[in-house]
Subunit: 337 residues, 4 copies
């Protein structure tokens, strides 16, 4: 049996607490320290799981930890990533590396030579259904991918303050699907066309954001992809990916909780979708952590999203931002130079 990986959690807000619970629950990890810019929040989380509360730099440099989980606010990711890499720790870093692709590249360039294990928080790769979809593609069950359709629809507008700091719908919401698209197809996006509107909350156009958008993408292989995003549906959280191949269609579809069907008159009423993104995707955080830990323990696990994946998904997002702004197709190469 492998020794437990001892983690420091950096950042104990909403998503940090999700990670705290997973670190406490996983048989091969131990939550040793919790650090947060708000010490009282760190203390509360630490106490709940029997961990210690620590200063960020003390946590990173402690001999009693093997790995850090960076779940702090986005602007601090890059610095913490670099510090932890220099301290030789294994790193699970929430996405994005930095909202500035330039800054992200600089940090990645410094971190890569240090050769520490790093995974970037594209947890949706670990959705159990998306994993099955990937297996069908890898086994060639439907032939080569020709047309990929992706739906990313959140149930409710986030607070305005969140949106203002988010980098916009492409960098904050769609980015997960840019990564999924690359991962599922083992192919690269070359051209992006995007259109968007602020329909659910028109005032966000004041800072250049949209809440509803449609994208088309050309892949290097000639395959074509679609993505639509909305920040607010009236019907729960809807995440779907279907891939049309030369010999059929494979679909990781909308998901609903179990429940009762009512048949009355000329209608049947069934449970709708999961009410929000978190209820749908929460299990994938655990599965991502599990894959990372198995990697650290020397078990072979393919497809862990790494630093270069982080940069590439961001590059596609930048191309999409440019396409939205300039109302033209944009190549990713333009961004990656």
């Amino acid at each position: 049996m492998a020794a437990k990986q001892r983690f420091a959690l950096l950042g104990s807000g909403f998503i940090g607490q999700v990670h705290a619970q997973n670190l406490a629950m996983h048989p091969d990890t131990e939550l040793v320290m919790v650090a947060d810019s708000d010490p009282s929040r760190a203390a509360a989380v630490a106490q709940r799981y029997g961990a210690k509360c620590a200063e960020v730099s003390a946590a990173i440099n402690s001999d009693t930890i093997d790995a850090v989980l960076i779940a702090s606010s986005t602007p601090s990711h890059a610095e913490l990533l670099l510090t932890a890499a220099r301290a030789g720790k294994a790193i699970y870093c929430e996405k994005p590396i930095d909202l500035s692709l330039t800054r992200a590249r600089q940090v990645v360039a410094q971190v890569l030579p240090l050769s520490v294990p790093v995974t970037v928080g594209f947890n949706r790769r670990f959705d159990a259904s998306h994993q099955q979809l990937k297996q069908h593609l890898q086994r060639g069950d439907i032939g080569g991918a020709e047309l990929i359709q992706m739906v990313c629809r959140s149930s409710e507008m986030p607070p305005l303050s969140y949106l203002q700091a988010s980098g916009g719908q492409m960098r904050d919401q769609a980015i997960h699907f840019f990564d999924l698209l690359r991962w599922l197809t083992a192919d690269e996006v070359t051209v992006v066309g995007a259109m968007g509107s602020a329909l659910a909350q028109p005032e966000i156009s004041a800072f250049g954001d949209v809440d509803t958008s449609v994208l088309i993408m050309q892949m290097a292989s000639g395959a074509l992809a679609q993505l639509d995003n909305t920040r607010r549906t009236g019907y729960g959280y809807d995440e779907r990916i279907s891939v049309l191949g030369a010999r059929g269609l494979a679909e990781s579809g909308s998901q609903s909780p179990q429940g009762v069907t009512l048949w009355q008159g000329n209608q049947q009423r069934r449970p709708g979708l999961w009410p929000d993104w978190f209820s749908r995707v929460k299990e994938s955080y655990y599965l991502h952590l599990d894959a990372f830990v198995r990697q650290l323990n020397g078990e072979l696990t393919a497809d862990l999203p790494g630093l270069l994946d982080g940069l590439q998904a961001q590059a596609i997002a930048e191309a999409a931002v440019q396409s939205l702004a300039e109302k033209r197709f944009c190549t990713v190469e333009q961004i990656t130079g």
Copy 2:
């Protein structure tokens, strides 16, 4: 190309009109005459399809017809069946042969030696989905049948006058499923247990009828079957058959018209079931006619329900009636002697 089979339609009420349209539409049949105890009704139907109006006996004995379709009121079936058989006509006879099993047996005993082609109106055998189900069973796709579950639920109570003349829920409604059960499994029912209540319309218990019933049946092979019947659902017409075999389940399930799905809040609303029995089963009348015509034209068609099938389904119905009345399991052998 085969010559057209020239039909006389005997009885032009609701179901007779269904047959009239099918006879007019089928490329290999010709509706030549229509007879009815109500001549004005016969005349209207005849005119609509370019047929002649005739007396019943004249129609049966005319040289210009090859076949009769008996769709008159139940008490006249037996006599018309016998007359038409003696006239050497091919016969499609609506079920039942006669409400009295004794009378039905007498007529069948007289008709069989005449060797005319006869099919009895168990049209549901020709439901396209039930046919697929039968194929799966015949091919052994799910292994031997072990547990058959059947649901037969009409959407609305028929008029009281209909019910009073119907012979009761077992002889009128459930009888189709007794036939389907024998046909699908190629097995015979040996014991029946039935419970029933008049829940939707309590006054029908005055003449000994029920509108809701549940049945269990033992088959000669040891397989077990269930059937439930209701005369009135609040959700359309529901007909379902599933067969559990040693290697899986095959299900000819509830059917709905196409339509729109609405996703709102925490619900999805889809089209419900067909509104009534006729919208669900109407195509099977045509398919049954087609199979009969192909048989007359010398094409091999298996599984046409014949006179002995009619008697056997009635025997099961009688055992069910007895079980309901005497509150005990009843053997079919008791009935068939």
Copy 3:
């Protein structure tokens, strides 16, 4: 009861024969004449339905007909349309008016002042599910349309000869959905972005066609739309439209024939989609004809696709063709001038 509308059918190929059967079946129409550049084909169809065979111009100008149904080859549409309009006949004209938008406009300009009833063959508006979808939108059941997703996927590549004469995927296949989009939303497309590849049959790129394409569209209201097209799936014919509104999603989804579900091991297997486009859409031809006849008989029927609808859908197709060719977003205004 209204007098029957007497039709001449112009063109008796595959789709002409579909119309012939509908004209014969409809209680308020009469198929009087059939004309075709191949007289033997016309004769066969005429005989089957008890109609006369005629020269095209004789048919159009005959006093014994009230209406013409133009189902001849595309290049002849415009001329026949004009001739029939000048003869004062009501006209059901298969789409497109002409592959050349310029020519189409010229003819429409001449036909409109003649004030004869004309409908253009956008039969998919009469799909029963799409009609329900439209009703939900009109009643405001899901609030204003914000994001429309359309899927148009044929099961098999048409013959190369067909493709070469078709005008390409935008003008031939996608055009139905440009019309559906305008009709469903009562909104206009302003900008189109399209990407396409010849993946199923690479040789069609020799004449500039694609078999797989993805499109995004901006609507005048700010709403956004997506469409994907393929000429060949490995899973039957897939046509779907969903509309996300401010208060939910309404979906006219993929359609399958009825059949059996098999549950075995860890899988359920259900019937797939309709095998080809015709089995899915054939009913809509009848319903379109029916709506046109009711309009001729003075019954109010909204939403019959007219000449201007034909031009507008073609304009969107031209913008899409331009976007594909020039790899940029194109406005429809550029086309319509």
Copy 4:
């Protein structure tokens, strides 16, 4: 915040370990002691959750525990129940109280006057979908229950040794559904008819057991119910309950894990059912425990299955056993005297 309820777990086999994990996970319970006839098994479970290992009687009588969870082998339930009740502990007792209904009644008669909180392990009442079904019935959403259909199908034959000690399919498997039927309808079963066969494993008929059975039941209200049971499907674990009321149908249906749909040729393939009973029902153990703890903490929770529920479900099972053996309808009154 309520004090934690301190539990002793009596019995640490498969189901005891399920309870151990739930007791460790629940925020308001504490797993203090584990006792088992096999001390090494108790020790292993105790260690995993930081509990102590104890003798059974010491555990029951310890001042440091408030409640016991009886998950030992069936023959020991009655004695432990009585001992714990005399010690004044709250009790969660796995079903059945005793395989002998006579013995079960004797113990219940002794325990009831002691007025300790007791719940009997009918955990399926706490299935989230069945709970929704109950709410629909209580609110009258579908009117009064008229026809209840229940399906209870396990995926794989248990070991022969298990079956020999189980009391047979009625007492071991169907009993959960006798309880669910009473709970959902708030009605009592009056008459039972049952047929059964040993089809999956014929040798179990040597000790009078069946693996496939169908039952019909009359309720005091006149409502009718059906149940089918099998020990081995070829398609996973299938548990379903539907209730037909005067105004529609409510269905807590078959449940499948999430996954990918493959559309190929003329088929769609979807995930099948949960592979076994435990994956389907495991959550209900936690929810049952949670309801019990909330009751202990003075929060109102209705519908906790109690000792009398245990006796009544067993009485129905005895009537079913009698019906199977004697091939006649049996009243429950005959059993309850």
